[in-house]
């Protein structure tokens, strides 16, 4: 069964362990600015919201790519960026209506969450269970997906 990241902001304390783990796993450095998951800080309310790609089924990024550099990973269902094929044109970064594909100027390519190939480092690192990797049928996820599909009608 496919699994997906479940993000529960109400459990997030803003410790940024996920960003550290993500950037280390994927870029080899402890640098939150290179992380594919981001924790947003709502100063006024003293709250935090972790946020990353939901691997939406519309796959706007994949369809916008001019060179077939974004593909569906059959094992995880994630939309993976093939680094050696990506030319760095950035069209996916404006096409993704969730803003979860970002350009990395150092590599000249785009980066996005690929679920670490099925063992997401952010979920492992999260000390409070705000980020979990769960079966895709899980109820909390259904809510996330409902959100994703209601944002932009497909037609």
């Amino acid at each position: 069964m496919l699994k997906a990241l479940q993000l529960e902001p109400e459990k997030c304390t803003g410790c940024l362990q996920c960003e550290m783990a993500c950037s280390y796993e994927n870029e080899g450095v402890f640098n939150p600015s290179k992380s594919r998951i981001k924790v947003f800080n709502f100063h006024d309310e003293g709250r935090f919201a972790p946020y990353t790609c939901s691997q939406c089924s519309e796959a706007w990024c994949l369809h916008a790519c001019p060179v077939e550099a974004i593909v569906i990973n059959p094992m995880t269902g994630a939309k993976d960026v093939l680094e050696d094929v990506c030319v760095g044109c950035k069209v996916c970064t404006i096409a993704c209506p969730f803003g979860t594909v970002n350009y990395n100027a150092d590599s000249g390519k785009v980066i996005k969450c690929d679920l670490c190939g099925g063992d997401p480092a952010c979920a492992t690192a999260c000390p409070t269970g705000a980020i979990t990797y769960v079966d895709a049928e899980h109820t909390g996820l259904a809510r996330m997906k409902a959100h994703a599909s209601q944002t932009i009608p497909k037609n």
């Binding site: 060179v67 077939e68 069209v91 404006i94």
Partner: protein, 423 residues
Amino acid sequence: MKHVVIGAGPSGVVAAETLRKLDASASVTIVGDEPEAPYSRMALPYFLVKQIPEEGTHLRKGANHFAQQRIDIVQDRVTAVDRAAKSLTLASGGKMAYDKLLIATGSRPVAPPIPGMDLPGIFSCWTLADGRAIAQRAKPGAKVLLMGAGFIGCIILEALAQSGADLTVVEMEDRMVPRMMNDTAGNMIKAWCQSHGVHVHTSTRVTGIAKGSAHPFKVDLSTGQQLDADLIVSATGVRPNVEFLDGAGLEVQQGIFINRHMQTNDPDIYAAGDVAQGRDFSTGESSVQAIQPTATEHGQLAARNMAGHTGAVHRGSVNMNVLDTLGLISSSFGLWMGKPGGDSAELVNRERYRYLNLQFDGDTLVGATSLGMTQHVGVIRGLIQTRTRLGKWKDKLLEDPTRLMEAYLASTQAVGFNAALLK
């Protein structure tokens, strides 16, 4: 059912694949006149600087992709459409029958009416063949003149500058990318390019080109100045490929006029991509957007309608562009120029080349321009296309437009997994 698609660009290819997915038994044929495997014009700049080989520009990488999908690719040019007989005339002499036809023939560059434009050695950067020719000539140190600093011109500018050429760009309007950037942003891009060694002439026209002695070309500018050039690249505008439709009775304005089912005035003929004049999400009017995301969106929607899924109504495509000029990344979306009576927020930092401009209609975001922004840019599209009511977040954005991502999370995710947190 026999579906025929004219044009093997992104729009035609996505349409053909979608047709195959929706109708396993239909016959799907693409007629394309370029000699190469279907490729992406967008990838040409990266081919030009040798970042990718020719195959890197191909739309589909699998060698047998189209055969596996049972999509026939015919290399030929359609010279006429006989609507009564439902048949196409091909340049090679044959005829081809269709039940449903998609026209996805794109556009092609037009040369401005300037004396000397017909001299050999002046290129557009539109096809792989152009790409090869330019790559051969844009040597380090070569004096290259680029005519036109529109969106396509600026994309080529990046590649030409990267190849080490001594680059001069001439633009008629008073700033760079005039149809994508306002005065402030367009001139910040100009300043950036100049600080990176590119000679930029705005509010200037090339008035004549002649053979030179020391260099192949001598170029006259409207300012009276004269320049030497080894290579001239022209990016001064395009025209839709519709000539083969002469006499066919299809309605053509800026492009082939289509309704919200991507249909022309002949219900069995559809159009998509750069050749089509379809609905613009922001204005509700029809226009030719000539961008990749719109081309594939059109192609998909046309295919769904051709396959009988007439519920697939086009809500309009958001006009959007992202550009990288020598490392300065810019983007523009929707009504970046604003809507009469709407509020706007602007943040300018000329020293750091940062710019963000948001345009509102009531409390919804309708357009934006950014310079130097690479993170979460896509939410601008998301907010525009969902017409999300920003409520109190609009005022926060007027104060500080950089809080865009917070505004997005607070206003959209509240209906989903963040509901408990942010309602």
